[in-house]
């Protein structure tokens, strides 16, 4: 009798050790894991977006400063605008716009800075935009010597 009871107990113990998870346990653990993974994947998405923003910002800065340098380095503003691919006749004061291959827009605004100077002083403003958002803006002046 005792022996049979012992055998039955051992059998019961073995059955318990082999018992799997219930469906509810599996569903709950998968849901918990999914929730944690969703939060972690969001982290990667945010990192990707931030990286894109940084890349756009750096590209825009490079483009804006290279455009300004082209305009400031040229002997005349009209030469600089020609080098950038804009057609100008004589007075460079105007608004220029160019669509970039990367999808952005480069805008240049040139205005007469006024003042009773022997040459001409111009206000130059260069803006680079991506998806209607200003990424880089540079404002400076250029003086074109005296007119003889």
């Amino acid at each position: 009798m005792m022996k049979r009871l012992k055998q039955q107990l051992q059998k019961e113990k073995k059955r318990k050790r082999n018992a799997g998870f219930t469906l509810v346990e599996v569903i709950i653990s998968i849901a918990a894991l999914g929730l944690i993974c969703a939060v972690l994947l969001r982290l990667f998405v945010v990192a990707g977006d931030t990286n894109d923003k940084a890349a756009n910002m750096q590209e825009a800065e490079l483009l804006a400063s290279s455009t300004v340098e082209t305009l400031l380095g040229a002997e005349k503003l009209t030469d600089g605008l020609d080098a950038l691919g804009f057609r100008t006749i004589s007075d460079p004061a105007a608004i220029y716009e160019m669509e970039l291959d990367s999808g952005g827009v480069l805008g240049i605004v040139i205005e007469d800075a006024g003042g009773d100077y022997p040459g001409k002083l111009y206000d130059i403003s260069v803006t680079v935009m991506y998806e209607d958002k200003t990424q880089s803006e540079i404002a400076t002046k250029k003086y074109e010597g005296r007119v003889r």
């Binding site: 944690i36 800065e61 804006a64 100077y117 404002a139 003086y143």
Partner: protein, 141 residues
């Protein structure tokens, strides 16, 4: 002890936790790198803004000097010292030095910690004023 080591109980939990830790580390690293890039970009943008504002000031002073010289050409005003003339007309300090048939004028303009040092040369013979140096200078810490 050996029995415990050989037991495979909880092995999948450890694997899941390890995987999560790795994901967290990679995620945080990616985000930190991206944020650093944005900060660096903003720093460059700030510097660009200051540099080109300083350049605008330098160009304005260049135009003002040209105006002073055009209004009263120096060969005809030899009785008046050019320094006196320029310091009266301009709001910034300009160093003037005569060098044979030419006159060297140098000045610095600043926008916060970014400055531009300019040296202009005025040739008495040709009556032309042109820059011989145009460079960025840093404020001494």
């Amino acid at each position: 002890m050996m029995k415990l080591m050989r037991s495979k109980k909880g092995a999948s939990s450890i694997l899941v936790i390890l995987m999560l830790v790795v994901l967290v580390v990679f995620g945080v690293a990616a985000l930190t790198t991206a944020l650093s890039s944005v900060r660096l970009g903003q720093k460059v943008e700030d510097w660009n803004e200051k540099y080109y504002t300083a350049e605008a000031k330098a160009n304005k002073v260049y135009a003002q000097i040209d105006k002073v010289i055009t209004d009263e050409p120096w060969p005809t005003i030899s009785s008046r010292h050019p320094i006196e003339l320029l310091t009266q007309a301009l709001p910034i300090d300009i160093h003037v030095a005569l060098d044979g048939d030419a006159c060297m004028l140098d000045y610095e303009v600043w926008e916060e910690d970014v400055g531009i040092s300019v040296v202009l040369k005025y040739d008495f013979e040709t009556e032309t004023l042109y820059p011989t140096q145009w460079k960025e200078v840093q404020k001494q810490q």
